[in-house]
């Protein structure tokens, strides 16, 4: 069976920085999104064609979804670029990660038992006399903890930045550092810890779902290669969409909480 690695396999090294196969596919995802955005903007028409019509419907739906959480259209339009970018980026990354060729096309390296492939986790079966090691060229970006952790840290930092921008630095910090009473001080400390826990939870939710989906597809393809993987690919399409949606909606909910003053909620 194709060996499964928890960490992404590097394709080559730039100095000591490993250029991994997940990084390659995430750059491709960025390229696809940039191309789509550029084409939509170039072919802008007052009377929309098909593609622009779909984009306008998507924008309107997303904006009204954000309205239901944030409460008013002006706030939605302020935060929509950030939340929609998170959604689109994770969605495109997840869906590109299940295309045929991702995980199956790669580089095979033959090496002797005395050498080890740099940076790889070499299992005991691989140390044969003359063995080969397969590195996929592309891999779903969210199956790399670096990708999800980076997005999670970015999201939590941006939620706090939006909070400071909306209600002012002093009010925002007073949610965490509140000296009015011992209990409130303790609650402030807990709030701070929960910000850190949010980062971890964002990162691991997306990573766990996508990595587990990859492992599932590999195992099913190994057990029953014909016809059986089809429902699992449907599951992966669905899970990819749901995880992107959940990440974006959670970011939105946290923005909604952060941009409201402490006593004004509800």
């Amino acid at each position: 069976m194709h060996e499964i690695f928890l960490s992404a396999e590097p394709l080559f090294f730039i100095g000591t920085y490993p250029f991994t196969n997940t990084l390659l596919l995430s750059l491709l995802a960025v390229g696809v999104i940039a191309l789509a955005g550029f084409l939509l903007q170039k072919r802008y028409a007052e009377v929309p064609g098909a593609a622009q019509g779909v984009a306008e419907i998507a924008y309107e739906e997303f904006a009204s979804l954000m309205d239901s959480v944030l409460g008013d259209r002006k706030k939605s339009e302020k935060y929509l670029p950030f939340v929609a970018t998170i959604f689109i980026f994770i969605l495109v990354s997840n869906w590109l990660g299940i295309l045929p060729g991702v995980g199956s096309l790669g580089i095979e390296k033959k090496y002797l038992s005395s050498e080890t492939v740099t940076g790889e986790h070499v299992s005991s079966e691989a140390l044969a006399k003359e063995d080969h090691h397969f590195t996929p060229l592309l891999r779903a970006p969210a199956s790399d903890l670096n990708f999800t952790l980076a997005l999670a840290i970015l999201t939590v930092v941006m939620v706090n930045v939006f909070g400071i921008a909306a209600i002012g630095a002093w009010k925002h910090i007073s949610k965490f550092l509140n000296f009015s009473s011992p209990i409130n001080f303790f609650v402030g400390i807990l709030e701070f810890i929960s910000e850190i826990a949010r980062m971890i939870s964002f990162a691991f939710r997306l990573f766990g779902n996508v990595f587990a989906g990859e492992v599932l597809l590999v195992v099913i393809a190994f057990l029953v290669p014909f016809a059986a993987p089809v429902p699992f690919f449907f599951l992966e399409i669905f899970v990819g969409f749901i995880q992107a949606f959940v990440f974006a909606m959670l970011a939105l909910v946290f923005i909604a909480i952060a941009t409201v003053e402490h006593g004004e909620e509800h």
């Binding site: 691991f204 939710r205 587990a212 959940v246």
Partner: protein
């Protein structure tokens, strides 16, 4: 018992026990959500959004257990 055998048992235990509570939680969230929509069909979109969010939080716990199991197995 050798380490390999203990690893396999640990993997199985982590994922088997770790998905009990999230499964119960998601079932309860879904049931209360369906109740609420039944009582007040007009508020269905709001209830739906809150329900999906709560289910995502509950599922994340199962995913943490899964990640621990995968780390035990593959690292």
């Amino acid at each position: 018992m050798e380490t390999e055998a203990v690893k396999l048992w640990a993997t199985m235990g982590a994922i088997a026990v770790g998905t009990i509570a999230p499964a119960i939680a998601i079932g309860m969230i879904g049931s209360k959500g369906a109740d609420a929509i039944g009582r007040n069909p007009e508020a269905a979109p709001k209830i739906q959004t809150a329900m999906i969010l709560a289910i995502a939080f509950a599922e994340a716990i199962a995913i943490y257990a899964l990640v621990v199991a995968l780390i035990i197995k593959f690292v």
